[in-house]
Symmetry: C2
Subunit: 525 residues, 2 copies
């Protein structure tokens, strides 16, 4: 691009803007959002140690369009084999993959820690969570949950009461492209919950590696690929691709039937738009950004010191790089918890960011929030190392200020920054909750006999997929009752979850069989 870093021009109805990072085409006649073509960030991926800022290890070339097409053709063969395998074969293969992950846990954690800086204890736990959720899906299908055809017996009467026998069976939706997240290199990545639930449903999976952990992605993939091969399945059951372009080629392919994604709002929305504007649109299950509002009523703040400490623990967990991070906390005006937070954050040390771009996006959003609200952050310790760090921070503001600057409520600082909003009355609190966007989770801290608690719970429940009572939103159990998905922008499909057993329903397509003879049913199901 030479010396041109930014320019903008208008050609009749089309406006071009080049910002150095992206070209924006804004068509005067199109009612749709502008087309933004981002500068290719990765022609290849190389690991970067967040603690030192140094690159290391091999370069992983982006998968070319031709290679991706070949992988898609293999995936079609893989899907035919995997979807026609018995439930037992599928479950045994998934269990063998879980075993192989556990067996290789130490080596996986070592490389993932170098690539993400998330630390050995957290990553060891994450491998355990990943193998656990694979086994949970295997167990679910083995016990027939979600996949057993439901027989709706014939009723011999006049219509509309009478009807023929209908067997409601469940077919895997097809080939699924899974876009891994940067903040969970195991549990929401190559072999994370999206892949595990799609595979359990009988789908073939094409996993797109996140460029911030290319080596971890490859090792996890190799472990699974070996198990599939050992069990005699074609390689196309499970594939790995690298690079944004390859992901787009796959998502646009006629051979692909669904997409799943965990990551940023902008990235997820761009992929959602691609999936929906296909000639034949396909479901795209995106889990995007979320501010996860937490409301503390006075009755829930009896111990400000402990509360402040637990708040900072949740806010700064994994350097705040959690999709369920409590980005917004509402507390009563003049509560002593604010000075407690200010006092305690000063002693908090920074942790490394996952990547330079994560840090730069976070820092820009923190500055934006601070400017929008004209509020200087209460800050923690800075780092004196060479790695990718920012000091933890909390920005204090009031309900009046955010009501005058609603954009602040929609600004997620993905990283170690929290927004504390003070309110002076219940109506004021409820009115600002009404202004919030959708979120994955929220929380209410109160005593159970607080007369205001129910209306606050009701207000928060309209905005979230999960409401935690007197507990923090971070920590998402892999369980049958889980709901990890809320109104947009938290997710692109609020009636589905990406965590917990119900995640499998995203990839199962019901097919009703009418009057099917037993001989045929026995061979089909």
């Amino acid at each position: 691009m030479g010396a041109i870093h930014e320019f903008s021009m208008q050609l009749k109805v089309l406006k071009f803007q080049w910002t150095g990072e992206s070209v924006r085409f804004n068509c005067w006649f199109c009612p749709r959002p502008p087309l933004v073509l981002k500068r290719r960030k990765y022609m290849s991926s190389q690991s970067l140690n967040p603690r030192t800022g140094q690159a290391f290890g091999p370069e992983f070339a982006d998968t070319s369009a031709a290679e991706t097409q070949a992988i898609l053709a293999q995936a079609k063969i893989g899907f035919d084999a995997w979807s026609e395998a018995t439930i037992t074969e599928r479950a045994e293969t998934l269990n063998a993959i879980a075993d192989a992950l556990d067996l290789n846990s130490d080596a996986l954690v070592e490389i993932a820690d170098l690539e993400t800086g998330l630390g050995v204890p957290r990553l060891t736990g994450e491998v355990g969570r990943t193998s656990f959720q694979i086994r949970e899906f295997a167990k679910a299908i083995m016990t027939g949950r979600f996949v057993t055809p439901e027989v709706d017996a014939a009723v011999d009467a006049a219509v509309p009461v009478g009807h023929p026998e209908l067997i409601r069976a469940f077919s895997p939706i097809g080939i699924v492209v899974v876009f891994g997240a940067n903040n969970f290199p195991f549990a929401f990545s190559v072999l994370g919950g999206d892949s595990a639930s799609a595979l359990a449903a009988g789908c073939a999976v094409i996993a797109k590696a996140h460029p911030s952990h290319p080596q971890t992605s490859k090792r996890v993939f190799d472990i699974a690929a070996k198990v599939f091969a050992d069990q005699g399945f074609p390689s196309g059951v499970f594939s790995l691709i690298y690079g944004v372009e390859a992901g787009v080629v796959a998502l646009k392919s006629e051979l692909v039937s669904a997409g799943a994604f965990t990551g940023s709002r902008s990235g997820g929305r761009a992929l959602f738009d691609i999936a929906q504007s296909r000639e034949n649109p396909i479901p795209f299950y995106g889990e995007l950004g979320s501010v996860n509002p937490v409301v503390a009523l006075a009755s829930g703040l009896t111990d400000p010191k402990t509360f402040a400490s637990a708040y900072l623990d949740s806010l700064l967990l994994g350097n705040g790089q959690f999709c369920t991070n409590p980005s917004i906390l509402f507390v009563p005006k003049d509560s002593p918890v604010i000075s407690e937070i200010e006092y305690q954050i000063a002693e908090r040390s920074p942790s490394p960011f996952l990547s330079p771009s994560t840090k730069s996006a976070h820092d820009a959003n923190r500055t934006k929030l601070s400017n929008l609200l004209a509020s200087r952050p209460m800050a923690g310790k800075s780092s004196d190392g060479d790695g990718i760090y920012s000091a933890p921070a909390v920005i204090e503001t009031t309900v009046e200020q955010v009501a005058a600057s609603v954009e602040a409520l929609a600004t997620e600082c993905f990283g170690p920054t929290g927004l504390v909003i003070t309110y002076s009355s219940l109506p004021e609190l409820l009115s600002v909750i009404d202004l919030l966007e959708g979120a994955l989770a929220g929380a209410v801290f109160a005593s159970a006999d607080d007369a205001d608690a129910v209306s606050v719970c009701r207000a928060i429940s309209k905005k979230v997929g999960r409401l935690a009572w007197n507990s923090w939103p971070t920590g998402v159990a892999v369980s049958v009752g889980q709901q990890h998905g809320g109104p947009y922008p938290a997710s692109t499909s609020s009636i589905h979850t990406s965590v917990g057993l119900h995640a499998i329903t995203r990839f199962l397509r019901p097919v009703a069989y009418q009057n099917l003879p037993k001989e045929i049913a026995a061979q089909l199901f």
Copy 2:
């Protein structure tokens, strides 16, 4: 527009085309489909008798944008009241609406018959089906199905096995806009399955009347509105709007959380695109066109005369204006059933079309099919009346011909036209099934011990939401095992159904409550 009927010009990157019916803007830089602005078809709606071609009755003005905004504001109030009503209150109200429909059945059928020409027996049955399905949804929620919170008890162990209590409850998704169909003035219209399932879920509904039956729409709406008022609910629980513009305004509104539609592929896709390109996309459950492939193996054709008669009955039911119409029939080459069809269709009389535009679209598609396949239709009787009629017809072709002209397989003639495709071997049959688009339903006629039947069922099942065995696809039971929705273009969400009890799940958003005290739960649920 004066004398200009068509023109096309290119302004740098933007191409305009005016075809007399629509303006098409094609932006050279946009990867998305072109923007097509159709000429407004209705500034007001007036009933038209299809048997005579004569307009009659009052004119219904399109709802203006300002009126629609006022209706949306009322719907917000209506949603708050209806969503917080008890299950019993909702079920009782729905049952009272069903009773009122039945009580007014004769008057409703009389006006609907004048507007649609579908005949008194069929329409009387349809009112019964409509009140039945409203009662079925009421019964489902009263027995707790779909709506009872599921308790996932706490497990006291280390993570990932251990977890807090999670109560998975179900919130109504919000205000739903329902676009009624032209071919079912009751069961898929103002108070059809989409409205009934959304209301049962606790959603407020804004129904957009179909312009081909404005009077029926108004009478059905008035019946329901009176019941809501009698039960003390605000008017915004259930609203009626007229006109394309009003539907678009509602679908774009921030206050609306979902859309549901039954109708044409082009109309449904345009609305789907609007819903998905919103700043916050919302689910849009569209049931669009479908060719519904039926395969007859030789073992299923032991009585060609009876088979041909049943085929024509299904094909010509309601003048072929059924979304489950068997548009494509595969039969073995040289089967005597073909001459039987030719012989019998000559005796079949035409029925009226729902509207002039339905007839013109059908006739154009029939001509297109006939030209694509270079095959002259076998035709039935013509009408000598003044109404909106076309003679029934069947176009015969071969697998070789359609494989060379795949577009024919995707051309739905919504009306009294069938395509009969002859095949000479199982592999040839399977290869052409693989070329089919998604469909709502399909059927296989064979004997249960036919060795080819399983592979044909498997092939058809990949393309459809329902597979009927030795029975025709028309006739969609309202039952718990039903699946009325298949891969695109049959529907925009193949994992959901628009008929049967599971239709309610489209409008229920799971919310997980973590560690909720019993006192609070008792007040929330």
